[in-house]
């Protein structure tokens, strides 16, 4: 019996199919195609701009025309280091950032703890949304709300008046309160996530071994949650360092952000040089945070 040897016809390859095969065989090429647009945009648009900003910090300003001249000088840095006003502003801002961070950590802990360990899953989800929503709500409007609350005839002094107390809201203390308010959700969420990761069994073991609740909290919970606090502090610290809107709305005092903002039109090189202070502080902060394992807690 003779059989006709059957040979399957080669499947007709569509153009799309052939292209797909080609890309499958050349994964580097498909990767390059995916990344060419994002990388170009980021390098040109963002990193390029940062480079121009750094460059601007060594430019000159013509003393007669107050135009920026593209000649190079280190005078801007000398001015920032030598003139005490810049140092004062830098310290005031860093101090403010630290105080805001501490206040936020203290305020965030109870609610984060409740969300992570006590609330039922349903309440927990509700609380996450309740904390998350204000985080996205317009930051300018929130700062503006505080401007009206803190004014002499505002709600805060009205609430305090029965006690015969009055509070000068447009002050450094008022600003500290506003910053603490603005960045609080940024602290609550990482701490909540950090506390949720602590296995219940560790706390039970501590209790079994005779640790009272305070002791368990100080010796077990707090150390394990610390990286999460540091993670949250990255936001509270960085956001306070660069802010100029809230200081403008609440006080007449100068902070790093307001100095940069006020100078950028009249003396761009000095403003650009001063941005290196928050950049430098944040780089140090991020390096330390990384050491403290905060990045895993983000």
């Amino acid at each position: 019996m003779s059989s006709i040897p059957y040979e399957a016809p080669p499947p007709r390859q569509s153009l799309g199919r052939r292209l797909s095969t080609f890309f499958y065989r050349h994964p580097h090429l498909s990767l390059a195609l995916l990344l060419v647009a994002p990388i170009t945009c980021f390098v040109v648009g963002y990193l390029g701009s940062l480079a121009v900003l750094l460059l601007a910090s060594v430019w000159n300003v013509d003393p007669f025309t107050s135009q920026v001249v593209h000649t190079y000088t280190l005078a801007n840095f000398r001015r920032i280091v030598e003139e005490p006003v810049y140092r004062e502003v830098a310290w005031r801002t860093i101090r403010m950032a630290a105080l805001v961070t501490v206040a936020d950590a203290i305020l965030a802990f109870p609610i984060a703890y409740y969300m992570a360990r006590i609330a039922s899953p349903r309440t927990r989800n509700l609380l996450v949304v309740a904390v998350l929503m204000p985080l996205w709500a317009s930051y300018l409007v929130k700062a503006y709300a505080w401007r009206t609350i803190l004014s002499g005839e505002g709600a805060l002094n009205w609430a305090l008046s029965p006690f015969g107390v009055s509070f000068h809201g447009y002050s450094t203390t008022g600003l500290w309160l506003v910053f603490t308010y603005l960045w609080l959700p940024f602290m609550i969420l990482p701490i909540y996530a950090g506390l949720e990761r602590i296995p219940e069994s560790l706390l039970e073991a501590s209790a079994d071994l005779g640790g009272r609740s305070v002791r368990t909290f100080v010796r077990i919970t707090l150390p394990l949650a610390f990286p999460a606090v540091v993670a949250g502090s990255i936001f509270t610290f960085s956001l306070t360092l660069g802010d100029y809107i809230a200081p403008k709305l609440i006080t007449s005092q100068q902070f790093i952000g307001t100095v940069i903002y006020d100078n950028h039109g009249t003396n761009l090189p000095v403003a650009a040089a001063f941005t290196l202070v928050p950049i430098g502080v944040m780089i140090v902060y991020l390096v330390v945070a990384r050491r403290l394992k905060a990045f895993e807690a983000l």
């Binding site: 109870p110 996205w136 930051y139 300018l140 503006y144 709300a145 959700p185 940069i260």
Partner: protein, 267 residues
């Protein structure tokens, strides 16, 4: 339960106090929008809705609103495209410099906004780009990309790449695989990321002040007018509008990703 009864009661009180602290200012903004008086003081004596109509008929407010919407849509579109491409590359390929990319994408939100703003402004004036809608959109896109990227990347991390391989084995080309397999899996994450990017761009002010030139988005309009006592009532109305319009997309984004537990955790 390790916590004692007293601890739990105290914690509950703490939660109530914190929530009050978070929400009272937001509620006050809403109440002030109905204040009949031009001079702002507390408590409010008479209520009115007339400032809504004043704000509605204000030409500057309308122009600012239109600009804000266009800027937010533009920034969201760019963020979705670039964020998705980056997320696909980072989660489906292993390559040299992958960690660098995920770090660089986060930079615009890790560094204070004033730095992004001043850097872009300096570049625009140095290169000679005129301020306009485009300069605002570019500024917003820098920090919106990371939002879409985070959402898309988290989703791709969870759904396995083997489905895509199966799709190609069964004869689908790359586009068909993306359209019928990859995209449906990412759809809700992209929607949520896009909505959050929109909300972020819609009320952004720190970067926008540097990149807008003479134009006013709604937040810039608020910032320019809130020191003028005469404009106070209209500012209150616009402030309420801005905050409500930024919460709606966030709320929808929450709903979209909350269908499976654990998805919305790191929005």
């Amino acid at each position: 339960m390790v916590e004692s009864r007293l601890t739990r009661i105290l914690l509950r009180l703490g939660v109530a106090a914190t929530l009050a602290f978070i929400y009272v200012p937001l509620i006050l903004i809403a109440v002030y929008a109905f204040d009949a008086s031009v001079t702002q003081s507390w408590p409010i004596n008479a209520f009115t809705t007339k400032w809504f109509s004043v704000a509605y008929h204000d030409d500057n407010v309308r122009q600012a609103l239109w600009l804000s919407v266009r800027a937010a849509l533009g920034a969201t579109a760019i963020a979705i495209v670039l964020g998705t491409l980056t997320a696909l590359a980072v989660s489906r390929f292993k390559f040299f410099g992958r960690d660098v990319i995920s770090l660089v994408v986060i930079l615009p939100i890790a560094l204070p906004g004033i730095i992004t703003g001043l850097a872009l402004r300096t570049t625009y004036t140095t290169v000679g780009i005129d301020f306009g809608l485009l300069t605002i959109i570019i500024g917003h896109a820098t920090f919106c990309v990371v939002i879409v990227y985070n959402n898309a990347q988290a989703r791709l991390h969870r759904v396995s790449g083997s489905l895509e391989e199966a799709s190609s084995d069964l004869g689908a080309d790359s586009w068909q695989t993306f359209r019928h397999v990859t995209f449906p899996q990412m759809r809700t994450a992209l929607l949520a990321g896009g909505l959050l990017a929109f909300a972020l761009s819609w009320d952004e002010v720190v970067v926008t002040i540097f990149t807008a030139g003479a134009q006013q988005t709604l937040p810039i309009w608020i910032f320019a007018n809130l020191f003028r006592p005469i404009e106070q009532p209209v500012v209150n109305v616009v402030a309420l509008f801005v905050i409500v319009m930024s919460l709606i997309p966030v709320w929808i984004a929450q709903r979209v990703t909350a269908e499976r537990p654990g998805t919305a955790r790191r929005a």
